[in-house]
Symmetry: C2
Subunit: 104 residues, 2 copies
Amino acid sequence: MDEINDMSKKLKAVSDPNRLKLLSYLKNGEICICDLVDVLQISQPAVSQQMKKLKDAGIIRERKKGTWKHFSLNDAQEPYIQAILNELEARTVSHCCSLSHSVN
Amino acid sequence: MDEINDMSKKLKAVSDPNRLKLLSYLKNGEICICDLVDVLQISQPAVSQQMKKLKDAGIIRERKKGTWKHFSLNDAQEPYIQAILNELEARTVSHCCSLSHSVN
DNA sequence: CACTTATATAAGTTAATGCTTATATTACAT
DNA sequence: ATGTAATATAAGCATTAACTTATATAAGTG
């Protein structure tokens, strides 16, 4: 019965149009919050809050790099989440911050 | 861009715990609203409204039989909706109305 | 250290959601 | 036609969700 609530939480996380868009941008790799503010036409705190929801639902992970935070899709997804991601078209953003290739 | 909104609508329809439960009961075949009131512990209008959402999202269909309405899962589902249905455990209800075998 | 930049948190507003109770509709039965 | 049963609709309420603006935090730079 608790599996239902877990599914509900994950599905709620991906059922918002803005968050679906965020995910479609994430399909092309890591992005940081500043990349998304322009693209979604919402405020920086709004993006920050959306990403938090996706992270709490276990769909994305974050990597801190200086003042930036880079987000990316988790490798392992529930099959039904993966099916949703498959349905999304991959979109490109122009990166506001140079995505440094160095690790950590 | 409108595909996002369509996905959002369908995903919203399945992201509520009670509606996920309804769907898990539907996996075993047709059921009518009266079957579900006891099972979910919510009022008849509440069940009725939930079913309407699932129907508007194109996930279930209805068949009228006298004063009863029998609901069932649509045969063709979007792949990502099917993946969600696959994840749900099939549950059994005791039918309040004799599910007549006659058609229409 | 002071200044800037990226992100987070807080508080408030508005809209959407999901229930409730009360009442309306529809269909069948007597 | 009247009564009963299944479902639908309406209205109201409480909760949640998703923004906003303002402010705080944290990290890099001169």
